[in-house]
Structure formats: C-alpha cells, structure tokens
C-alpha cells in the first residue's frame, strides 16, 4: 500500500506495524505528531498498545525501561531537549539491557531556543550505548523503525531511529507501507527470554556491582555493540529480501572513481545526490558516502569505501565545541589505520546547524573549498556563517 506520509507519520506507522506494546511519551516539537499519531492509532483500535502519558522525557524512558523489564516491546519518541533530559536513562536502558526503540527527531539545542534540525542532540548520546540509525527519507524512516526493533531485540541493546526535524518530520512523501503480516513474519513478537521481571522468579535486576564485577557487564555491552555491525547488516539484508528495499550502514554514491568524497548523513544525503550529479556534469571527480550508523561505528566499511581517495570532506550538522564535528572525528580516527599512501586527507565542515539549509550550493561550496586547499585547516570550517 502506498501512502503520502510525513516522516513523523512514518515513524508511527513503523511502530504500529511492529506491534509495539507499550508506548510512554511526552510531547515536544517537532516530535509531537509521532505520539499524536500513535494515540490516534490506539484510540482507533489500529494499534493494540498501552499508552503512558508521562510527565517528562526522563519518565518516558524510565517507563519504557520498566515496561521492557516487564517483558514487552516498548517505544518512545522525542527530540532535542527531550533527548537531553533522557540522557541518564539512555545509559540506564543500555545497562539494564532493555531493547527499547526510540525515534529521535534531530532538533537543535537551546539556548537559544530553536526547534529546527541539528544532530547535536543525538550525537551527544554517542556514549550511551544506543544503536543510532540515521535516515535519509521517510521510506527509510518507516523501514528503519521496523528494523530497529529487530536489531535491538536480537542484541538486547536499545536503538534510536533518527530523522531530521521538518526536512523529514514534517515533509510528506509517498511511501510504501509494508503489509502487517509480512512485518509480523519479519519481526516476530518480542521474546524477552529469561531477562525480564518474571513474578515467579525472584531475582534482583540491577544489583550493585563492586569494582571486581562491574567491568564484565560493561564489556558485554561493547562485545554486543561490535556484534551489532553484523546483526545490522543481516537485518537489513533480510529486510531487503522480504520487502525489496536495501539499506547499508555505509553507502557510496558515485564514489568508486571519485578523487574527492563527501561524507554525509541524514537528509543531506538526498541533497548530496543532486549536488554530486550536478558537479559530475561539470566534470568534477567527486562522489559521496552516506553513513547510517554512528553507533556502532562502521569502521571497516568506511575504510573500504574511502581507501586510496585523495580527499574526504565530512559535513557535520553538529559540532563538539572545542573540537570538530562528531562525524569528522570518527572518520579521522577510523582512517588513521590506513597506510599513509592510501590515507585520504580529511576536511571537516560544519553546516546547517539549527535548521539552516544545506543546499546544492552549500555542497558545491564545500567541494570547492576542499578541492582548492592542499591541506585542511586545523579546525573545521563553518559554512555560511557570518563570522563576528
């Protein structure tokens, strides 16, 4: 079935099709329509879910963790400030090994107030142990939401589906809605196995760990995050086989024969495709790589995609004050293992913060700067900023 849906509706459909059982959520712009949509679906009887209208995002995540401990599939959505308020509980969900799925609509951080797109909220959760899946379009949003449950549950790690504010959340696209029975085949009901609060089995979850036991639990998170790379691939492959849409953690666009490669994530990728086509038409040897996962970081795929390139330009719609954009940091450290003669020069660019448009022109400017400079500046270049 095809429908014209906003990104937020796509999230709601994804959750509904996944037969999510408990939703705990709190409204925040621009996430709000996700939870409105789910409330409607519940009220209409389309989704058989228990809806907890919590008083904050912190409680939303706490309730999701509780419900997940109760042995059911749980979901929430938030953005920006809400994600920041959740921060403590994001870590908690990982440590408790509760496979909660969260949709985050990338929103800029206050102060000053801004409700527009910016990845700083989600990249700031890099160390929480959540799998982070960035989406380019609404179809990918819906599909990724379904896949996120499967990935999270098989690893018992929480997963975040990430979409740009307004560019996706409030933009409509015609998308294919998978058949629910096919989704059910793809994603069977949640089986918590042994790790849930079974009332008949008196165990204490989350017991205090002394220094001689703590590291083992953290290590298992790391082990499973490493394993996640493979699991994500498998799930995406499965999904592709069943539904005919294929997703990769790292996906090149006209990058094989390019000298200069732009690395992007989220909606910048779709603008990027047009920009690459435009530049190629001009005869430039440029290509693009889109990364879907910040965590786990697809190091090997990325190395494979960028090995031997001359220059790599990373566009970050986020930044870490005092350092560089987060994607740039990650890519630099990933590529460092290449031998010097195969290691590209990496250029970092900060663009599109707080919802500022990243247009074809912006990308062209970035390409231009990359091509012209023999060496990158030691700090990221801020694109389109009226320096004061």
């Amino acid at each position: 079935m095809r429908k014209v849906l906003t990104g937020n509706q796509a999230v709601a459909y994804g959750a509904m099709l996944s037969d999510v059982q408990v939703v705990a959520a709190y409204p925040i712009t621009p996430q709000t329509t996700i939870i409105e949509e789910l409330a409607d679906m519940q009220a209409e009887g389309l989704a058989d879910l228990d809806y907890i209208r919590v008083e904050s995002e912190h409680s939303a995540m706490a309730a999701c963790i509780g419900a997940s401990m109760g042995g059911v599939r749980t979901f929430t959505a938030t953005c920006g400030q809400g994600l920041f308020l959740m921060h403590e509980m994001l870590h908690y969900a990982t440590g408790a090994r509760t496979p909660v799925v969260l949709a985050n609509v990338n929103r800029a951080i206050a102060a000053p107030w801004s409700i527009w797109s910016d990845q700083t909220d989600s990249v700031s959760q890099r160390e929480t142990g959540w799998i982070q899946l960035y989406c380019e379009g609404n179809q990918e949003v819906l599909d990724t939401t379904i896949m996120a449950f499967k990935i999270a549950e098989s690893l018992r790690l929480p997963a975040m589906v990430i979409l740009d504010a307004f560019f996706l959340s409030h933009t409509s696209e015609p998308i294919e809605i998978p058949d629910i029975e096919a989704v059910r085949d793809f994603l069977p009901p949640y089986d918590p196995g042994d790790l849930w609060l079974d009332p008949d089995n008196p165990r204490t979850f989350g017991s205090l760990c002394m220094p001689d036991t703590y590291m083992e639990f953290r290590w298992q998170i790391q082990r499973d995050m490493e394993r996640a790379k493979q699991v994500i691939d498998e799930v995406q492959d499965d999904f592709g086989r069943v539904f005919g849409r294929n997703y990769r953690q790292v996906e090149g666009y006209r990058s094989d024969d390019a000298d200069v490669v732009m690395v992007v994530s989220g909606t910048v990728a779709s603008t990027g495709r047009d920009a690459i086509d435009f530049l190629r038409a001009r005869g430039e040897g440029v290509g693009m790589v889109k990364i879907k996962t910040l965590r786990p970081f697809p190091r090997q795929e990325l190395v494979a995609a960028l090995r031997g390139k001359k220059k790599v330009a990373v566009i970050d719609r986020n930044f870490s004050p005092g350092a560089t954009g987060v994607w740039a940091q990650e890519i630099r450290s990933a590529l460092y293992e290449l031998p010097e003669d195969e290691r590209p020069i990496i250029y970092g660019y900060i663009a599109g913060l707080g919802g500022r448009d990243i247009s074809i022109k912006t990308i062209e400017e970035i390409y231009q700067k990359t091509r012209e400079a023999d060496q990158p500046d030691d700090v990221d270049i801020w694109i389109g900023v009226n320096y004061v």
């Binding site: 440590g95 408790a96 090994r97 018992r156 790790l195 165990r203 204490t204 979850f205 989350g206 017991s207 205090l208 760990c209 036991t213 083992e216 639990f217 290590w219 298992q220 790391q222 082990r223």
Partner: protein
C-alpha cells in the same frame, strides 16, 4: 578474546540470583542477644517458692489442672495459701508500677479450689527405700516436708500431739479466713499419698526423741510456737482473761469461751486482730490496745482494714500496767507511750511517758506473740530461747535432725513454714542419699531473704526455666511496658459486715472464672518467655526463629548483627545483651 584477559561467566546484566544467606553478617557484632529466664520479683520473694508467673500463664489459657499441678510441685496447699498467705508477692508485683498488682492470691485460691472441687490427686509410687523419716508436728512445715519427702520416694511417718493435723492453721487461724473443709481437703491428700499419720502422739512424752533418733534415719521437727508470751503484769489469772492461743483454740474446736461483752485485746499482730474479729463475731465490743502506732503494727494491713470494717476499735500508744477487777477483769490501767528511736526491727520503739489512764472492760485477750515451748524440744538440738539453730536448709546441730517452721529463725507465717518444710525435705533427701553439700548443693539455689527454693527451677523442668536460668530479678525498668495495656485489677469482694458478724462464714468471696482469667492475663510473666514472638518479629536480620526442638526462640549467630532490638522489645525482660570477647 580481544577485550578481556579473563574468562567471564556472568549474565548479560547484573541480575542477582544467589541468596544473601551466604553473607554471614554475624561477624559484624560486638554483643549478642541471649535468651535468659530471669526470676520475677514475685517468684523471687515467694517464701514457698511457687512459680507464680508460670501458673498465671497457664490459668490465662484456661489450663487449670496444669496450673494446679505446677503449684503442687512446690506447695501442697494452694487452696489454703490462696486464703491465708499474706501475699507479699503482690507488693513486689511489677504491675504495681503499671496499674494495679495482679491479685495473685485470688488466682491461687481459685486453682486450689479447682483442685478440691475436681478431686485432683497427686499419685506417688510406694516408698523406694526402707529408710523412713519421722516428722514431728503436722503443721504446715511438717506436712510440707512429709509431702515432698514422700514425692521424692521416701517413707514418712508424721507425729502430732493434737487430735487433728494442721497445727496453727487449724487451731489458730479462724475459719472465716480458712474454712475447715478447705484445710481438711488439702491435708487429706497426704493420707492418700501414703504418709503415715500418728495423731495424738506427743513426742517427748508418748514417744521419746531418742526412740525417733534410733528408729528413723532422719527426723524433721516442726512443732511450732505454742506458748503465748506473757504480759508480765499482775492479775492475769482473773476470769475473763485469755491468751490468744487458748481463745482461738477454743473457737476452732467449736467451744464458746466465757468472755465478756467489752473486750480489750492486747497486741498488734495478726493473732490480736483475729482475736478481736472473733470477739466481734461473739457479739462483743473489741478494742485493740497496742503500744506503738498503726504504722508499726505487724498485722497485715488488709487484716486491720477488715477488723475496722467489722467495728474493731484501736487504741494506740498504750501499754497495760495493771488489771482491775476482783475475780473477773473489770478494766486495765494503761500507760501512754511515745515513739522513740528505731529498734532492730526497723520500727520506732515505744517509750513510756509515765502518764497513765484507765479503760473499762469485762474481758481481755493477750496476743503479744507466740514462742516455742522450750521443754518440748529434744535435749540434743541446740537452740536459743526456743529458736532452734539450723543452717539455711534446716539441718540442726544434731545432723540427723532437721527443723522448720515457727521453731527456727524465720518469720512466723504459714508460707515461710511451707518453704522451710520444702527446703528441709530437699536436705533430708540428699542426706539420706548421701549427697554431700557441694557447690551444686541446693542452698546455692535458694533465693532472696527468705531462702526461697523452687524445685522445678532446681531440676530445670520449670515451665519457663528452659535455658540460661538466671537468678537476676526482673524489675519494671527491664520490661517494655508498652506491650501491656493498662487494665485495672479485679478487686476482691467481701461479704457484708452484718453477714460476717453473724458467724464464721468466709469473708472474702472467690473470683469468678472470668475474673480469674482476666487477672491471670494481666500478669506480665516477668522474666519468662511466653513465646510472644516480639524478638522474632522485630529482628531486622530475620535471624530469630522458633526453636525447632523446644520452647521459645533461637537467634542465628551467623546473621545476628547484635543490634539489640529484640532485647529492647522483649516485653518481659527475658532477654539480655552479652558483650562478646
């Protein structure tokens, strides 16, 4: 593995499944609780060595026969005791600091009467040994000694010069306080137990002390104090003058002594009170003349109170100097006295003032004290003015002879006599078995000033004395009074005065069963575990459990952290903290 240098066998998250029982928190403590069975103040002072808290516990549950048997372990005369014992236990009762003392004597009386009404029996096998013990005097001391010796398996013969056994209980105490059926009923049990009664045989006259010394392996002497102390003034041979013992003996034998209508009773003790009260029952006016003031009277306050109710008048600080009258007494000349320094008894001494005054009377009874007839004692036991020398257990200087009751240096009461008879029985039994007095000897287990001895405690079979018996006395501050509601005690009812004066009907009315139960339940059971469960319920470590093999509780020292809550919350002071090494 890349990320670790050690093999791990841990679950995915920190889920605990091992019971904390592996964590032996008992090592934390520096002090540990101890279950002890302490002595309640009532038990500690009971001259007869009864386990009062024990039978209160049983009566509170309606277990009357068990209660009766518990008393009978110690004292053969609960129905008598419940009536004539001066129940000093109630003065010491910790409950007095809470609300009112438990009416112990009324509960005991109920139990005694229950035994009589239901013809409860103590059965004993025939004597185990051929040796026999002679008991001289069938007063409470002799009867008690006989009873216990018989229970211990000894053959016993009891000699008494009177026509019936009972001693002063029969010939002294009037029946409005101790009905004869009660007395007969309780004494008759000894008969059934195979005690041989040799009645109307006066030792020293009808049989010699020497012959007893020869025929019996041991002799107990309990011949009482049957000589009335003389006033030491002229004219005591006038008609209408009696001494208390003659007077009461006549009454108790059903004779009508010839005495006037206005009677002066000289003395301040219980016999003086009895004489005055009997006089009232004979239709006479009675005035008690006492040389000190009311506060110094040795008579029991309740007795004084009842005498007052019955119209007995009191004249204090007056001492007889001369008797008026020709053949029959017509009046007494009295000297006014004043109170001086404390004397040895701790009371203020009467000091003559030289001032005199007269009172009229046509009858007079002297009741200033009774002593043992020195001539009735065997020649070979040493005594001081009729007070036979004996050790704490009653053994005299003539080792085969033991003594108890009014002839030794203990207060003259039925209760003390019973206690002394019991002590002597223990001593005689051990003497016959050839057990030397050593550090385990029973006199190590006699308590308090009256030498209380509790046989069950000694044997370790007492109801509460299960573990760590301690002779420490529990006082109110050792208890946790919070756990006891304030409930005023049941008051003893007495029959109306005009009823009383018509004859010798028993004055105090028995408690109903409900009253008895409610009184028994008021008992704190000081110092005894009643398995109330507080220690167990309040243990934050869950380390106190029912003792699987017996009575009470055990604390698991593997886990007890030594907080001491159990001790603080024990309502009855049956626990204590002990510092650890």
């Amino acid at each position: 593995m890349k990320y670790t240098d050690r093999q791990v066998h841990v679950p995915l998250c920190s889920v605990s499944t091992t019971s904390s029982l592996v964590n032996k928190t008992g090592t934390w403590k520096s002090a540990q609780p101890l279950f002890i069975d302490r002595v309640s103040p009532c038990n500690q002072q009971c001259p007869a060595g009864e386990d009062i808290t024990g039978y209160m516990y049983l009566v509170g549950q309606g277990r009357y026969e068990e209660a009766w048997r518990l008393i009978m372990e110690e004292n053969p005369f609960p129905a008598i005791m419940g009536r004539v014992c001066f129940h000093t236990c109630e003065e010491r009762c910790n409950r007095t600091e809470h609300d009112d003392a438990v009416s112990i004597h009324m509960v005991e009386r109920f139990i005694g009467d229950y035994g009589l009404a239901n013809s409860l029996r103590i059965t004993v096998p025939g004597p185990e040994r051929k040796e026999r013990v002679a008991i001289v005097g069938a007063g409470p001391a002799g009867l008690t000694a006989a009873y216990h010796l018989r229970k211990m398996g000894n053959g016993v013969s009891i000699f008494d010069s009177n026509q019936k056994p009972g001693g002063m209980m029969r010939y002294g105490i009037p029946s409005y306080r101790l009905p004869k059926e009660v007395l007969d009923g309780e004494i008759s049990r000894l008969d059934e137990m195979g005690v041989e009664f040799k009645i109307a045989v006066k030792v020293g006259k009808d049989v010699t002390w020497d012959s007893l010394d020869n025929e019996f392996e041991a002799v107990f002497m309990g011949i009482g104090a049957w000589e009335e102390t003389s006033l030491g003034i002229e004219g005591l041979n006038k008609k209408g003058i009696y001494n208390a013992l003659e007077f009461l003996e006549d009454i108790n034998l059903g004779k009508e002594p010839k005495i006037g209508k206005r009677i002066a009773v000289i003395g301040g003790g219980n016999s003086a009170i009895d004489c005055a009260r009997v006089s009232r029952r004979l239709g006479a006016e009675a005035t008690i003349v006492y040389r000190r003031s009311e506060a110094e009277m040795p008579a029991h306050t309740e007795e004084i109170e009842m005498a007052r109710e019955e119209g007995v008048r009191f004249l204090f600080l007056a001492s007889p100097k001369a008797i008026y009258g020709e053949e029959t007494v017509a009046g007494v000349k009295l000297e006014k006295m004043a109170l001086g320094e404390m004397d040895d008894s701790g009371r203020r001494r009467p000091v003559p003032t030289g001032e005199t005054f007269d009172i009229d009377c046509d009858g007079m009874i002297t009741a200033i004290g009774e002593a043992t007839r020195v001539g009735d004692l065997p020649p070979f036991t040493s005594h001081r003015g009729g007070v036979v020398e004996a050790d704490r257990m009653g053994q005299t200087t003539h080792l085969r002879f033991f003594a108890g009751g009014d002839i030794i240096d203990i207060p003259h009461t039925v209760t003390h006599a019973i206690g002394s008879g019991k002590r002597a029985a223990v001593a005689i039994d051990r003497f016959l078995r050839g057990i030397e007095n050593d550090k385990d000897s029973p006199d190590q287990f006699t308590w308090g000033e009256s030498g209380t001895i509790n046989l069950a405690w000694l044997k370790g079979t007492s109801l509460f004395c299960r573990r760590n018996p301690s002779l420490e006395v529990v006082d109110y501050t050792d208890m946790n009074p919070f756990y006891f509601d304030c409930l005023p005690g049941v008051k003893t009812k007495r029959i109306p005065v005009d009823e009383r004066l018509k004859g010798f009907q028993e004055v105090s009315e028995p408690f109903s069963e409900e009253e008895v139960i409610s009184e028994a339940r008021r008992c704190f059971n000081c110092g005894s575990c009643t398995e109330c469960g507080n220690c167990c319920i309040f243990c934050p470590e869950n380390s106190i459990k029912r003792d699987p093999d017996g009575y009470g509780y055990v604390a698991d020292m593997d886990f007890c952290k030594g907080c001491g809550i159990c001790v603080n919350e024990c309502p009855r002071g049956a626990m204590t903290m002990k510092l650890m090494e």
